[in-house]
Symmetry: C2
Subunit: 198 residues, 2 copies
Protein backbone atom coordinates (compact mmCIF):
# COMPACT_ATOMS: atom_id res chain seq x y z
CA UNK A 1 0.00 0.00 0.00
CA UNK A 2 1.19 3.46 -0.87
CA UNK A 3 -0.31 5.03 2.23
CA UNK A 4 0.72 2.60 4.92
CA UNK A 5 2.15 5.43 6.99
CA UNK A 6 -0.96 7.49 7.73
CA UNK A 7 -0.24 9.09 11.09
CA UNK A 8 -2.45 8.13 14.00
CA UNK A 9 -5.26 10.64 13.74
CA UNK A 10 -6.15 13.10 16.43
CA UNK A 11 -9.59 11.84 17.37
CA UNK A 12 -11.06 15.30 17.92
CA UNK A 13 -10.06 16.41 14.41
CA UNK A 14 -11.66 13.28 13.03
CA UNK A 15 -15.01 13.76 14.73
CA UNK A 16 -18.07 13.92 12.51
CA UNK A 17 -19.22 17.13 14.19
CA UNK A 18 -19.76 20.08 11.88
CA UNK A 19 -16.67 22.18 11.28
CA UNK A 20 -15.82 24.76 13.89
CA UNK A 21 -14.90 28.10 12.30
CA UNK A 22 -11.25 28.00 11.31
CA UNK A 23 -10.82 24.35 12.24
CA UNK A 24 -11.63 21.81 9.56
CA UNK A 25 -13.21 18.45 10.35
CA UNK A 26 -11.34 15.56 8.78
CA UNK A 27 -12.68 12.30 7.45
CA UNK A 28 -11.07 9.00 6.50
CA UNK A 29 -12.11 6.68 3.68
CA UNK A 30 -10.78 3.38 2.37
CA UNK A 31 -9.96 2.31 -1.20
CA UNK A 32 -13.04 2.15 -3.51
CA UNK A 33 -15.21 3.90 -0.90
CA UNK A 34 -17.37 6.76 -2.19
CA UNK A 35 -17.07 10.23 -0.62
CA UNK A 36 -20.53 11.57 0.25
CA UNK A 37 -21.85 14.32 -1.98
CA UNK A 38 -22.94 17.51 -0.27
CA UNK A 39 -24.11 20.59 -2.11
CA UNK A 40 -22.77 22.99 0.47
CA UNK A 41 -19.13 21.97 0.92
CA UNK A 42 -15.96 21.23 -0.94
CA UNK A 43 -13.49 18.65 0.32
CA UNK A 44 -9.75 19.25 0.40
CA UNK A 45 -7.64 16.11 -0.05
CA UNK A 46 -5.11 15.85 2.79
CA UNK A 47 -3.86 12.37 1.87
CA UNK A 48 -4.40 9.84 -0.90
CA UNK A 49 -5.98 9.89 -4.35
CA UNK A 50 -9.55 9.89 -5.70
CA UNK A 51 -11.25 9.90 -9.07
CA UNK A 52 -14.40 11.75 -10.10
CA UNK A 53 -16.65 9.95 -12.54
CA UNK A 54 -19.98 9.70 -14.29
CA UNK A 55 -21.56 6.97 -16.45
CA UNK A 56 -23.60 6.76 -19.59
CA UNK A 57 -26.97 5.10 -20.15
CA UNK A 58 -25.13 2.03 -21.40
CA UNK A 59 -23.33 1.79 -18.05
CA UNK A 60 -19.93 2.88 -19.39
CA UNK A 61 -17.90 4.73 -16.77
CA UNK A 62 -16.38 8.08 -17.76
CA UNK A 63 -13.59 9.31 -15.50
CA UNK A 64 -13.57 13.11 -15.18
CA UNK A 65 -10.52 13.62 -12.99
CA UNK A 66 -7.79 12.20 -10.81
CA UNK A 67 -7.20 14.23 -7.66
CA UNK A 68 -4.60 14.24 -4.91
CA UNK A 69 -2.96 16.22 -2.12
CA UNK A 70 -4.26 19.78 -1.85
CA UNK A 71 -6.93 19.40 -4.54
CA UNK A 72 -10.47 20.62 -3.91
CA UNK A 73 -13.28 18.28 -4.93
CA UNK A 74 -17.04 18.19 -4.47
CA UNK A 75 -20.54 18.46 -5.90
CA UNK A 76 -20.43 22.28 -6.27
CA UNK A 77 -17.69 21.89 -8.90
CA UNK A 78 -19.85 19.77 -11.22
CA UNK A 79 -23.16 19.96 -13.07
CA UNK A 80 -22.83 16.40 -14.30
CA UNK A 81 -25.31 13.85 -13.00
CA UNK A 82 -24.77 11.05 -12.07
CA UNK A 83 -21.55 12.10 -10.35
CA UNK A 84 -19.37 10.19 -7.92
CA UNK A 85 -16.10 10.64 -6.03
CA UNK A 86 -14.37 7.30 -5.53
CA UNK A 87 -11.25 6.69 -3.46
CA UNK A 88 -8.35 5.07 -5.33
CA UNK A 89 -6.34 4.64 -2.11
CA UNK A 90 -6.90 5.27 1.56
CA UNK A 91 -7.96 8.92 1.66
CA UNK A 92 -8.12 11.69 4.22
CA UNK A 93 -10.16 14.81 3.43
CA UNK A 94 -11.15 17.97 5.27
CA UNK A 95 -14.25 20.10 4.78
CA UNK A 96 -14.00 23.55 3.20
CA UNK A 97 -17.29 25.38 3.82
CA UNK A 98 -18.64 27.77 1.17
CA UNK A 99 -17.64 30.98 2.95
CA UNK A 100 -13.96 29.92 2.77
CA UNK A 101 -13.81 29.02 -0.95
CA UNK A 102 -12.62 32.51 -1.94
CA UNK A 103 -9.50 31.94 0.17
CA UNK A 104 -8.50 29.08 -2.11
CA UNK A 105 -8.43 30.64 -5.57
CA UNK A 106 -5.17 28.82 -6.35
CA UNK A 107 -6.80 25.43 -5.77
CA UNK A 108 -9.73 26.42 -8.02
CA UNK A 109 -7.31 27.54 -10.76
CA UNK A 110 -5.45 24.26 -10.36
CA UNK A 111 -8.72 22.33 -10.70
CA UNK A 112 -9.49 24.17 -13.95
CA UNK A 113 -6.00 23.47 -15.30
CA UNK A 114 -6.13 19.78 -14.46
CA UNK A 115 -9.57 19.22 -16.00
CA UNK A 116 -8.35 21.01 -19.13
CA UNK A 117 -5.20 18.85 -19.15
CA UNK A 118 -7.35 15.71 -19.27
CA UNK A 119 -9.63 17.20 -21.93
CA UNK A 120 -6.55 17.87 -24.03
CA UNK A 121 -5.13 14.39 -23.44
CA UNK A 122 -8.40 12.64 -24.42
CA UNK A 123 -8.19 14.34 -27.84
CA UNK A 124 -4.71 12.97 -28.67
CA UNK A 125 -4.22 10.50 -31.49
CA UNK A 126 -3.05 7.84 -31.93
CA UNK A 127 -4.16 6.15 -28.69
CA UNK A 128 -0.54 5.23 -27.87
CA UNK A 129 0.27 8.97 -27.65
CA UNK A 130 -2.86 9.50 -25.53
CA UNK A 131 -1.83 6.75 -23.11
CA UNK A 132 1.76 7.96 -22.93
CA UNK A 133 0.67 11.56 -22.20
CA UNK A 134 -1.67 10.30 -19.48
CA UNK A 135 1.10 8.24 -17.85
CA UNK A 136 3.38 11.32 -17.94
CA UNK A 137 0.60 13.43 -16.41
CA UNK A 138 0.00 10.83 -13.67
CA UNK A 139 3.71 10.57 -12.94
CA UNK A 140 4.02 14.36 -12.57
CA UNK A 141 1.02 14.48 -10.25
CA UNK A 142 1.41 11.31 -8.21
CA UNK A 143 4.82 9.90 -9.15
CA UNK A 144 7.79 9.26 -6.90
CA UNK A 145 11.41 9.28 -8.05
CA UNK A 146 13.13 5.93 -7.62
CA UNK A 147 16.43 4.71 -9.06
CA UNK A 148 14.79 3.00 -12.04
CA UNK A 149 12.59 5.98 -13.01
CA UNK A 150 9.33 7.53 -11.86
CA UNK A 151 7.00 5.24 -9.92
CA UNK A 152 3.20 5.48 -10.26
CA UNK A 153 1.75 3.49 -7.37
CA UNK A 154 -2.00 4.16 -7.50
CA UNK A 155 -3.25 0.57 -7.72
CA UNK A 156 -4.80 1.59 -11.04
CA UNK A 157 -6.26 -1.09 -13.34
CA UNK A 158 -6.23 -1.21 -17.13
CA UNK A 159 -10.00 -0.71 -17.00
CA UNK A 160 -9.49 2.43 -14.87
CA UNK A 161 -7.13 3.82 -17.49
CA UNK A 162 -9.54 2.97 -20.32
CA UNK A 163 -12.25 4.96 -18.51
CA UNK A 164 -10.03 8.07 -18.51
CA UNK A 165 -8.86 7.78 -22.11
CA UNK A 166 -12.12 6.85 -23.86
CA UNK A 167 -10.74 3.56 -25.10
CA UNK A 168 -11.03 -0.13 -24.21
CA UNK A 169 -9.32 -2.22 -21.55
CA UNK A 170 -7.98 -4.50 -24.28
CA UNK A 171 -6.30 -1.56 -26.03
CA UNK A 172 -4.73 -0.33 -22.78
CA UNK A 173 -3.40 -3.83 -22.02
CA UNK A 174 -1.91 -4.18 -25.52
CA UNK A 175 -0.26 -0.73 -25.44
CA UNK A 176 1.20 -1.20 -21.95
CA UNK A 177 2.73 -4.48 -23.15
CA UNK A 178 4.17 -2.62 -26.13
CA UNK A 179 5.60 0.16 -23.89
CA UNK A 180 7.14 -2.57 -21.71
CA UNK A 181 8.73 -4.29 -24.71
CA UNK A 182 10.12 -0.93 -25.82
CA UNK A 183 11.51 -0.48 -22.27
CA UNK A 184 9.64 2.80 -21.89
CA UNK A 185 8.03 1.40 -18.73
CA UNK A 186 8.58 -1.30 -16.13
CA UNK A 187 5.66 -2.99 -14.40
CA UNK A 188 5.24 -4.81 -11.14
CA UNK A 189 1.65 -5.88 -10.52
CA UNK A 190 -0.29 -2.60 -10.75
CA UNK A 191 2.74 -0.40 -10.24
CA UNK A 192 4.09 1.36 -13.32
CA UNK A 193 7.57 2.84 -13.54
CA UNK A 194 8.24 5.37 -16.30
CA UNK A 195 11.80 5.09 -17.59
CA UNK A 196 12.26 8.82 -18.09
CA UNK A 197 15.61 10.36 -18.94
CA UNK A 198 16.94 12.32 -16.02
CA UNK B 1 -24.28 39.05 -37.40
CA UNK B 2 -25.45 38.09 -33.96
CA UNK B 3 -23.90 41.12 -32.34
CA UNK B 4 -24.96 43.90 -34.66
CA UNK B 5 -26.29 45.92 -31.75
CA UNK B 6 -23.14 46.52 -29.70
CA UNK B 7 -23.79 49.82 -27.95
CA UNK B 8 -21.56 52.74 -28.82
CA UNK B 9 -18.73 52.33 -26.34
CA UNK B 10 -17.77 54.92 -23.79
CA UNK B 11 -14.34 55.86 -25.07
CA UNK B 12 -12.79 56.24 -21.62
CA UNK B 13 -13.83 52.70 -20.66
CA UNK B 14 -12.25 51.43 -23.86
CA UNK B 15 -8.88 53.08 -23.33
CA UNK B 16 -5.84 50.81 -23.26
CA UNK B 17 -4.65 52.35 -20.00
CA UNK B 18 -4.18 49.95 -17.14
CA UNK B 19 -7.28 49.34 -15.07
CA UNK B 20 -8.12 51.85 -12.38
CA UNK B 21 -9.08 50.14 -9.13
CA UNK B 22 -12.73 49.18 -9.33
CA UNK B 23 -13.11 50.27 -12.94
CA UNK B 24 -12.24 47.68 -15.56
CA UNK B 25 -10.64 48.57 -18.89
CA UNK B 26 -12.56 47.15 -21.79
CA UNK B 27 -11.31 45.88 -25.13
CA UNK B 28 -13.00 45.06 -28.42
CA UNK B 29 -12.05 42.29 -30.85
CA UNK B 30 -13.47 41.11 -34.16
CA UNK B 31 -14.37 37.59 -35.32
CA UNK B 32 -11.36 35.24 -35.60
CA UNK B 33 -9.10 37.75 -33.83
CA UNK B 34 -6.90 36.35 -31.05
CA UNK B 35 -7.11 37.80 -27.53
CA UNK B 36 -3.61 38.58 -26.24
CA UNK B 37 -2.28 36.24 -23.56
CA UNK B 38 -1.10 37.83 -20.35
CA UNK B 39 0.11 35.88 -17.36
CA UNK B 40 -1.14 38.43 -14.85
CA UNK B 41 -4.79 38.95 -15.80
CA UNK B 42 -8.02 37.16 -16.52
CA UNK B 43 -10.51 38.54 -19.01
CA UNK B 44 -14.23 38.67 -18.35
CA UNK B 45 -16.42 38.36 -21.45
CA UNK B 46 -18.90 41.25 -21.60
CA UNK B 47 -20.23 40.45 -25.06
CA UNK B 48 -19.80 37.75 -27.71
CA UNK B 49 -18.28 34.28 -27.77
CA UNK B 50 -14.73 32.88 -27.88
CA UNK B 51 -13.10 29.47 -28.01
CA UNK B 52 -9.93 28.33 -26.25
CA UNK B 53 -7.75 25.89 -28.16
CA UNK B 54 -4.45 24.11 -28.54
CA UNK B 55 -2.98 22.02 -31.35
CA UNK B 56 -0.99 18.83 -31.71
CA UNK B 57 2.34 18.28 -33.42
CA UNK B 58 0.43 17.17 -36.52
CA UNK B 59 -1.32 20.55 -36.63
CA UNK B 60 -4.72 19.22 -35.52
CA UNK B 61 -6.67 21.81 -33.55
CA UNK B 62 -8.16 20.75 -30.19
CA UNK B 63 -10.88 23.01 -28.83
CA UNK B 64 -10.82 23.22 -25.03
CA UNK B 65 -13.82 25.47 -24.40
CA UNK B 66 -16.55 27.71 -25.71
CA UNK B 67 -17.03 30.82 -23.57
CA UNK B 68 -19.59 33.62 -23.44
CA UNK B 69 -21.13 36.37 -21.34
CA UNK B 70 -19.76 36.51 -17.79
CA UNK B 71 -17.16 33.78 -18.30
CA UNK B 72 -13.57 34.30 -17.13
CA UNK B 73 -10.81 33.30 -19.55
CA UNK B 74 -7.05 33.71 -19.69
CA UNK B 75 -3.58 32.22 -19.53
CA UNK B 76 -3.62 31.72 -15.71
CA UNK B 77 -6.43 29.15 -16.14
CA UNK B 78 -4.35 26.87 -18.37
CA UNK B 79 -1.07 24.95 -18.31
CA UNK B 80 -1.48 23.83 -21.90
CA UNK B 81 0.97 25.19 -24.46
CA UNK B 82 0.40 26.21 -27.21
CA UNK B 83 -2.78 27.94 -26.04
CA UNK B 84 -4.94 30.47 -27.83
CA UNK B 85 -8.18 32.39 -27.26
CA UNK B 86 -9.95 33.02 -30.54
CA UNK B 87 -13.04 35.18 -31.04
CA UNK B 88 -16.01 33.39 -32.67
CA UNK B 89 -17.96 36.66 -32.96
CA UNK B 90 -17.33 40.32 -32.23
CA UNK B 91 -16.19 40.28 -28.59
CA UNK B 92 -15.93 42.75 -25.75
CA UNK B 93 -13.84 41.82 -22.70
CA UNK B 94 -12.77 43.55 -19.50
CA UNK B 95 -9.64 42.94 -17.46
CA UNK B 96 -9.85 41.25 -14.05
CA UNK B 97 -6.52 41.77 -12.26
CA UNK B 98 -5.18 39.01 -9.98
CA UNK B 99 -6.09 40.72 -6.70
CA UNK B 100 -9.78 40.63 -7.70
CA UNK B 101 -10.01 36.95 -8.70
CA UNK B 102 -11.15 35.87 -5.23
CA UNK B 103 -14.26 38.06 -5.68
CA UNK B 104 -15.35 35.88 -8.57
CA UNK B 105 -15.45 32.38 -7.12
CA UNK B 106 -18.76 31.71 -8.90
CA UNK B 107 -17.19 32.36 -12.31
CA UNK B 108 -14.28 30.04 -11.43
CA UNK B 109 -16.73 27.30 -10.35
CA UNK B 110 -18.64 27.83 -13.59
CA UNK B 111 -15.42 27.49 -15.58
CA UNK B 112 -14.67 24.18 -13.86
CA UNK B 113 -18.21 22.92 -14.53
CA UNK B 114 -18.13 23.86 -18.21
CA UNK B 115 -14.73 22.28 -18.87
CA UNK B 116 -15.96 19.13 -17.16
CA UNK B 117 -19.16 19.23 -19.26
CA UNK B 118 -17.06 19.17 -22.44
CA UNK B 119 -14.82 16.42 -21.07
CA UNK B 120 -17.91 14.34 -20.40
CA UNK B 121 -19.38 15.07 -23.86
CA UNK B 122 -16.17 14.10 -25.69
CA UNK B 123 -16.41 10.63 -24.10
CA UNK B 124 -19.93 9.90 -25.42
CA UNK B 125 -20.51 7.17 -27.96
CA UNK B 126 -21.73 6.83 -30.61
CA UNK B 127 -20.59 10.10 -32.23
CA UNK B 128 -24.21 11.00 -33.06
CA UNK B 129 -24.96 11.13 -29.30
CA UNK B 130 -21.78 13.18 -28.76
CA UNK B 131 -22.82 15.71 -31.41
CA UNK B 132 -26.38 15.90 -30.13
CA UNK B 133 -25.22 16.49 -26.55
CA UNK B 134 -22.84 19.21 -27.75
CA UNK B 135 -25.63 20.95 -29.70
CA UNK B 136 -27.84 20.81 -26.58
CA UNK B 137 -25.00 22.24 -24.48
CA UNK B 138 -24.39 25.04 -27.01
CA UNK B 139 -28.10 25.84 -27.17
CA UNK B 140 -28.33 26.09 -23.38
CA UNK B 141 -25.30 28.36 -23.24
CA UNK B 142 -25.70 30.51 -26.34
CA UNK B 143 -29.16 29.67 -27.74
CA UNK B 144 -32.11 31.99 -28.22
CA UNK B 145 -35.74 30.88 -28.16
CA UNK B 146 -37.52 31.43 -31.46
CA UNK B 147 -40.87 30.09 -32.64
CA UNK B 148 -39.30 27.14 -34.49
CA UNK B 149 -37.06 26.04 -31.60
CA UNK B 150 -33.75 27.09 -30.07
CA UNK B 151 -31.43 29.09 -32.36
CA UNK B 152 -27.64 28.65 -32.19
CA UNK B 153 -26.17 31.59 -34.12
CA UNK B 154 -22.42 31.37 -33.52
CA UNK B 155 -21.23 31.24 -37.15
CA UNK B 156 -19.73 27.85 -36.25
CA UNK B 157 -18.35 25.62 -39.03
CA UNK B 158 -18.46 21.82 -39.27
CA UNK B 159 -14.68 21.89 -38.84
CA UNK B 160 -15.09 23.93 -35.62
CA UNK B 161 -17.48 21.30 -34.26
CA UNK B 162 -15.12 18.47 -35.25
CA UNK B 163 -12.35 20.16 -33.24
CA UNK B 164 -14.51 20.09 -30.10
CA UNK B 165 -15.75 16.54 -30.49
CA UNK B 166 -12.55 14.76 -31.51
CA UNK B 167 -14.00 13.64 -34.82
CA UNK B 168 -13.76 14.65 -38.49
CA UNK B 169 -15.47 17.41 -40.47
CA UNK B 170 -16.90 14.76 -42.80
CA UNK B 171 -18.56 12.95 -39.90
CA UNK B 172 -20.05 16.20 -38.53
CA UNK B 173 -21.43 17.08 -41.98
CA UNK B 174 -22.98 13.63 -42.40
CA UNK B 175 -24.57 13.63 -38.94
CA UNK B 176 -25.97 17.15 -39.26
CA UNK B 177 -27.58 16.07 -42.55
CA UNK B 178 -29.03 13.06 -40.75
CA UNK B 179 -30.38 15.25 -37.90
CA UNK B 180 -31.94 17.54 -40.52
CA UNK B 181 -33.60 14.60 -42.30
CA UNK B 182 -34.94 13.41 -38.96
CA UNK B 183 -36.27 16.96 -38.38
CA UNK B 184 -34.33 17.22 -35.12
CA UNK B 185 -32.69 20.38 -36.44
CA UNK B 186 -33.24 23.09 -39.04
CA UNK B 187 -30.32 24.82 -40.74
CA UNK B 188 -29.89 28.14 -42.46
CA UNK B 189 -26.30 28.72 -43.59
CA UNK B 190 -24.31 28.36 -40.36
CA UNK B 191 -27.29 28.85 -38.07
CA UNK B 192 -28.66 25.74 -36.39
CA UNK B 193 -32.11 25.53 -34.85
CA UNK B 194 -32.78 22.70 -32.40
CA UNK B 195 -36.38 21.48 -32.64
CA UNK B 196 -36.79 20.88 -28.93
CA UNK B 197 -40.12 20.03 -27.33
CA UNK B 198 -41.33 22.91 -25.24
Amino acid sequence: MMYSTIPTPNSSRLSNNSAVEGQASQYLFTRREVIPLRNDVLWRIEHGAVRTLTWGEDGTFITLGYWGLGDLIGYPLSRIRPYQIECLTAVEVSIVPAHLWHQDVDALLSHIQQTEDLLSIVHRKPISLRLWQFLLWLSEKFGRDIDKGKLIDLNITHQDIAEVLNTTRVTVTRLLQQFEEEEAILRHKRRIILRLLK
